[in-house]
């Protein structure tokens, strides 16, 4: 039984142009994506900028409106809900953002920021319980009680990210969408936040959708990894299998391009030619074919479906074995 079930999700943004803002084209940010996340599982989502990974994360918590498809969380289709019903479901579904400065209100104290989540979902109870609950939450993310009275600007980047995590935890969610939660942090602080997220998962049985562009981080924290290119899923499978035996040529190139500290590791960097094409006019057939080192004629015409290559490991390539 999966916690989140996404089916054929599409998010298209209209591109308006000219007189009367006619819709000329659309950016297919997320194009026909299906996957699921089980309870207590971490699904890593990687891809380069513009591949639709952030939009996908936002569509799941319904911060952007899906164009079509369904997002079933706890047996309810979020894509069709609104208003009070949506708020009810969202209690189980929270989000942590990339930029801890931009996502915390500078004029609210930490107590107000974390408490607001409790108030909205009417979980606070009387003032004394509310106070205690907030202190408890701060402690669970490695901050202490004295921090409650302070404002976001008094904290370092890593501490601010902890506040964002405490706010997400306040309503006791089952799934947290983490949108690049460590990308804006210093290298030495990244590990603290990664460890914290893993500890919280163990204690509370949380599930994560962990969106990031750093493959090494994603592999470290995820049970399964999903790779996106131009709005489509090109590969999904167990983290170890995707990183150690990638089936899709794009994943292979992506992994070979990750800088490695060990100078003695033998590796051949696959340098892809060109840039990611525009998602307004994606290439015909397989969207990766113009940059693919093994592309054949069929790739220009036929869009390869996601195929199960080995048990639980899917890739969208005509030639994956």
């Amino acid at each position: 039984m999966s916690l989140l079930e996404v089916k054929n999700l599409k998010v298209h943004f209209p591109v308006k142009h000219g007189l009367f803002s006619r819709v000329k084209a659309s950016v297919k940010a997320v194009d026909d994506v299906s996957f699921s996340i089980g309870p207590g599982e971490t699904l890593g989502l990687v891809g380069e900028s513009g591949c639709g990974k952030t939009t996908l994360g936002r569509a799941i918590v319904k911060l952007v409106e899906p164009t079509s498809g369904s997002v079933v969380f706890a047996e309810r289709d979020i894509a069709k809900l609104s208003g009070r019903e949506l708020r009810g479901v969202r209690r189980g579904l929270q989000m942590i953002f990339q930029d801890p400065v931009g996502s915390l209100n500078p004029r609210m104290t930490v107590e107000e920021i974390v408490g607001e989540a409790l108030d909205i979902h009417k979980l606070a109870g009387d003032p004394a319980t509310r106070r205690n609950r907030i202190r408890e939450l701060l402690k669970s993310v490695g901050l202490n009680e004295t921090h409650a009275e302070r404002y976001p600007h008094e904290f370092s980047g890593g501490q601010r990210q902890r506040i964002g995590i405490a706010r997400a935890l306040a309503v006791e969610p089952e799934l947290i969408v983490c949108d690049e939660p460590v990308s804006a942090l210093d290298v030495s602080v990244q590990a603290q936040i990664i460890n914290l997220l893993q500890d919280l998962q163990q204690e509370r049985g949380l599930a994560y959708l962990f969106v990031a562009h750093d493959l090494a981080v994603v592999k470290h924290i995820s049970h399964r990894v999903m790779v996106m290119y131009l709005g489509k899923v090109v590969e999904i499978g167990p983290a170890k299998a995707v990183v150690e035996e990638p089936k899709h040529p794009y994943t292979q190139a992506l992994i070979s391009a990750v800088p490695v500290v060990d100078p003695d590791s033998k590796r051949q960097r696959i340098v892809l030619p060109g840039d990611v094409p525009s998602p307004i006019n994606p290439p015909s057939g397989c969207p990766f074919h113009p940059r693919c080192p093994i592309a054949q004629d069929i790739c220009k015409v036929d869009l390869p479906p996601l195929r199960e290559i080995t048990p639980g490991h899917y890739a969208a390539c005509h030639f994956a074995k």
Binding site: E48, S188, I194, P259, V261, D262
Partner: protein, 320 residues
């Protein structure tokens, strides 16, 4: 004098009087002709300020050079007149910055922006032909049509190639690249890194590469300097440092980054966060976060000492 660049005991403060904050404290670094040196450190450690000082690009005030010398080609940059500074900036030493879209002028065509550098430093070569040659050098396809593009018509990777072409236009002896790949995607990062490695081989210039990513050090650097809180804490040949880091900070930094080939074991995070400039501990600056700290470290500031041939470490407990 065999060193192209020789920074000696550089000390730089922002602000004055009691508000002065020392952001670079006694940095000494040299680069030989044709050598690539990486300067590694986290944000706020003073690596960019050190690099910008090479062409005295930090405005004074608010900055004050409290002490030290920077010899570029045998001349002290800090004592130069404004006129000579103008000649070396973009001439002997060229810069490539992190965010290409912020460095390029959005209202001029890229060809014209590259030509501007040629006009200043190699006026006889300020021609379309030379611009096209430079664009070819940095791997821009169909350069004849690209010289009339505006920056917004290009992708981030292409824009960074334009920045590199512009930096190379004056045939600099030293290229300073300040996090040139940080703003780019992984696959584009790999392209730019390959380009720098290739240019280094073909043109034989010196490169000072600033990065926070130890992963790219092994690919390009001959030597590495690791900075922490305004000081160099370890200076070593690149491969030696990556194989066997000596300073506790370098070790901790390497252990805290997940590796693509690594197992699922817990990351060894470094406790606390980087101290803000002006609020450094009196003894060893890494003392509050160091896993192997001793009582002595709190009071005594360690010196950067050569503990093995060519390997310099600032620690009380790493001894020759």
């Amino acid at each position: 004098m065999s060193n192209l660049l020789e920074i000696k005991n550089l000390q730089l403060e922002f602000g004055s009087g009691t508000n002065a904050v020392r952001v670079v404290d006694g940095v000494s670094l040299s680069i030989r002709a044709g050598e690539t040196v990486c300067l590694v450190g986290e944000s706020g450690c003073g690596k960019s300020v050190t690099a910008l000082s090479i062409a005295k690009l930090i405005p004074t005030p608010p900055a004050h050079y409290v002490g030290g010398e920077i010899f570029l080609n045998g001349v002290d940059v800090l004592q130069m007149s404004k006129k000579s500074l103008r000649e070396i900036r973009g001439g002997v030493v060229s810069y490539v910055f992190q965010e290409p879209s912020a460095s390029l002028n959005p209202v001029f065509r890229v060809g014209r922006q590259i030509k501007e550098s040629l006009k200043l430093h190699r006026p006889t070569f300020a021609t379309d032909a030379e611009v096209i040659r430079l664009l070819k050098l940095v791997g821009i396809p169909a350069p004849e049509s690209r010289i009339n593009d505006y920056p917004f018509q290009m992708s981030g990777g292409m824009q960074q190639r334009i920045m590199i072409a512009m930096a190379l236009a004056s045939e600099p002896k030293l290229l300073v690249a300040d996090e040139p790949t940080t703003a780019l995607d992984v696959t584009i990062q790999a392209q730019i890194l390959e380009l720098l490695i290739d240019l280094k081989k073909r043109l034989g210039m010196s490169i000072l590469l600033i990065t926070h990513n130890l992963g790219i050090v092994g690919d390009i650097a001959d030597r590495v300097a690791v900075m922490y809180a305004g000081q160099i804490v370890e200076l070593s040949p690149a491969l030696d440092l990556l194989r066997r880091p000596l300073h506790p900070y370098t070790k901790a930094l390497m252990n805290s980054v997940p590796q693509i080939k690594g197992g699922p074991q817990r990351l060894q995070a470094i406790a606390g966060s980087v101290p803000p400039p002006g609020n450094y501990p009196p003894g060893c600056r890494f003392f509050p976060r160091c896993p192997t700290a001793q009582p002595q470290c709190e009071k005594t500031m360690p010196q950067l000492l050569e503990v093995e041939p060519n390997r310099w470490v600032r620690s009380l407990y790493v001894k020759p």
